[in-house]
């Protein structure tokens, strides 16, 4: 590990951040610097997803991936987003304090405590990541070699991308790895764990920033900190595989769709399209998650104007078009009814295993019930249906791929890793749902 490598990674991730924030500025405008700060995490995820999605297409048409290509893509993308913002007449951010929405001293204190607790955890994770050796089987067996191949050979090397295990997995994570190697100046598989630390920081900031105006601080921070400390999520945060990133991109996209159902702001759809396209190119189940989120959003917007459906179908077309150049996944062959029941039982057991996920799914179920009774029923229906589909998707994976044994052992069946998406989504859903229940009380009082 060298300081140069760490600084290179910091610069690369700073470039993702600037690209994404510029895209958000073009999409919605950012009136104040506090808006920039609030949406910086979301901007970072949008930047990562946009970069990975564009480079997937470029690699498929055999454009070489090199240091200059990397710089040109990031600089060109940022400039293009800036030009679009200027053409759309977006004003530059001015001032910091949002006088329309003053924050109380109590909520600032809670937010400060939440940031401090999260910061402590992230600091420990940083120290862990910067000297982490490559240990996880999937990481050294195919994720990292694919990244090294893109770095070393400048493209989708035929030997690596056809003969290594899980050759058909999409390439967004190897592209991010290859970019990290370029930024560090070598294929340093120790320091590059910091790339995954940056993704965790970005994800935390994205979820907190998206929910900041929709959920009171005292409700937001305990759940947010808890979700990054539950055993199975905490242990997987820095593993250089695609699981955490696909979950984060999907959940951020699904969250934007939920907020769009509530306020109909178009920029949320555009940002969700980028995030869900990124999820589809991160892992095979990312496409399943994206399809589920868009299908449920279509159903939840039933009865609204036809234009709404047209917009959602456009998002679906963007996500589908982004995934199209990559090879489709094997759909699996299925099995007997007994196997289906066993798969459902396994998914259920894994989901409610508190040793893996603490109380997060249980609290989400209570929040769903409460929101259906007293809160925002449209958003509750959207989130309940999406959670249901994600759950069934996990059972389907076990059912359809007959070579997978019915077991929660991670080396034999991916159900535990898969369930991470459900748990992260349920944590975010809980916040939105409980906030709507709390506010429904306020509305009754007024």
């Amino acid at each position: 590990m060298s300081v140069r490598a760490v600084l290179g990674l910091a610069a690369l991730n700073g470039a993702y951040l600037i690209l994404g924030v510029m895209l958000l500025w073009a999409l919605r405008g950012l009136r104040r610097w506090s808006d920039v700060l609030r949406l910086a995490g979301l901007g970072y995820l949008v930047g990562v997803a946009a970069f990975g999605t564009v480079w997937t297409q470029l690699l498929v048409v055999r454009l070489p991936f090199g240091g200059w290509g990397l710089v040109l893509t990031l600089a060109g993308g940022t400039a293009a987003a800036g030009a679009a913002g200027v053409l759309l007449g977006r004003p530059r951010p001015r001032g910091f304090v949002d006088t329309d929405r003053p924050a109380s001293a109590a909520s600032l204190l809670v937010a400060a405590a939440g940031v401090a607790l999260t910061g402590l955890l992230l600091e420990a994770l940083f120290r862990s990541a910067r000297l982490q050796s490559l240990q996880a089987y999937d990481a050294w067996a195919f994720w990292v070699p694919k990244g090294k191949a893109i770095y070393d050979f400048g493209g989708l090397d035929q030997q690596v991308f056809t003969t290594f295990p899980n050759a058909t997995y999409p390439p967004l994570v190897p592209i991010l790895d290859a970019a990290a190697f370029h930024a560090m100046g070598s294929a340093d598989v120790v320091t590059f764990h910091l790339q995954y630390w940056f993704l965790v920081v970005g994800a935390t900031a994205a979820i907190a920033g998206c929910l900041y105006r929709h959920v009171p601080a005292w409700l937001l921070w305990p759940s947010l900190v808890l979700v990054f400390t539950v055993p199975r999520i905490a242990s997987g945060l820095l593993v250089p595989q695609a699981d955490v990133l696909v979950d984060v991109l999907f959940v951020a996209g699904a969250l934007l769709l939920a907020l769009w159902l509530r306020d109909g702001r178009g920029w949320r759809l555009a940002a969700a399209a980028v995030l869900l396209a990124g999820a589809g190119l991160t892992k095979r189940e990312g496409l399943l998650f994206a399809a589920a989120a868009l299908a449920v959003a279509l159903a939840a917007s039933y009865g609204r104007h036809r234009v709404v459906w047209l917009r959602l179908l456009t998002v679906a077309a963007v996500v589908g078009a982004a995934a199209l150049p990559w090879r489709p996944a094997d759909a699996g062959a299925g099995g007997s009814i007994d196997r289906l029941l066993d798969a459902l039982r396994l998914s259920f057991d894994v989901l409610f295993d508190t040793a893996l996920w603490s109380v997060v799914p249980l609290v989400a179920l209570i929040a769903l019930g409460a929101a259906f009774a007293w809160g925002d029923r449209r958003v509750a229906a959207y989130l309940a249906a999406l959670l249901g589909l994600v759950f069934l998707g996990g059972a389907w994976v076990t059912y359809a791929f007959r070579e997978l044994p019915i077991t929660a052992q991670e080396s034999a069946n991916p159900i535990v890793r898969y369930t991470g998406a459900f748990v992260l989504l349920s944590a975010v859903a809980t916040l939105l749902l409980l906030a709507s229940v709390w506010r429904s009380g306020t509305e009754d009082l007024q």
């Binding site: 240990q135 050294w140 070393d152």
Partner: protein, 154 residues
């Protein structure tokens, strides 16, 4: 049943908020239990990672696959990055791990990139291999437990 549902749906503000407070309380209790453990685990991992030497860190999972990490270090040093290599595995030897025979080739393919795997390469990573199967090969490095790096005359 219908009455219970009706009462539930028409619950007052206090009941609704009590439920929200209950959920937050459960979350806080879980956080109080989990947070110290998560922080401790991350801290312990950081200490363990810092305690590793440079080679242990660079080899990573290879330490579980190969009985002697010198093979990996030597392979990277001896085989030029633009050349290819073959892997030849013989009968398991005392000192090999459970993963040596089954995972050595895959690990070497990953670890030695950009060197490519090619069965006809002039470099052979030999794990207790049948040397007669590689006529003319010279051992440029030899370790214990049958580990060697061979080079065929070009």
């Amino acid at each position: 049943m219908y009455d219970v549902l009706q009462r539930w749906l028409s619950a007052g503000v206090g009941t609704r908020r009590l439920l929200v407070v209950f959920c937050v309380a459960v979350t806080l209790v879980a956080l109080v239990v989990r947070y110290p453990d998560a922080l401790h685990d991350a801290d312990e991992t950081a200490r363990a990672n810092a305690a590793l030497d440079f080679v242990d860190r660079a080899v990573g999972a290879g330490n579980s696959v190969f009985p002697d990490q010198r093979l990996l270090v030597e392979a990277r040093g001896l085989i030029p990055p633009d050349e290819s290599f073959a892997v030849s595995v013989g009968d398991p030897q005392p000192g090999w791990t459970d993963l040596t025979a089954s995972s050595a080739e895959l690990f070497l393919r990953s670890y030695l990139l950009p060197r490519r795997l090619d069965p006809n390469a002039r470099w052979v990573v030999c794990l207790a291999c049948d040397r007669d199967a590689h006529p003319g090969a010279v051992a440029v490095w030899e370790g214990d437990e049958g580990l060697a790096i061979l080079r065929l005359a070009s």
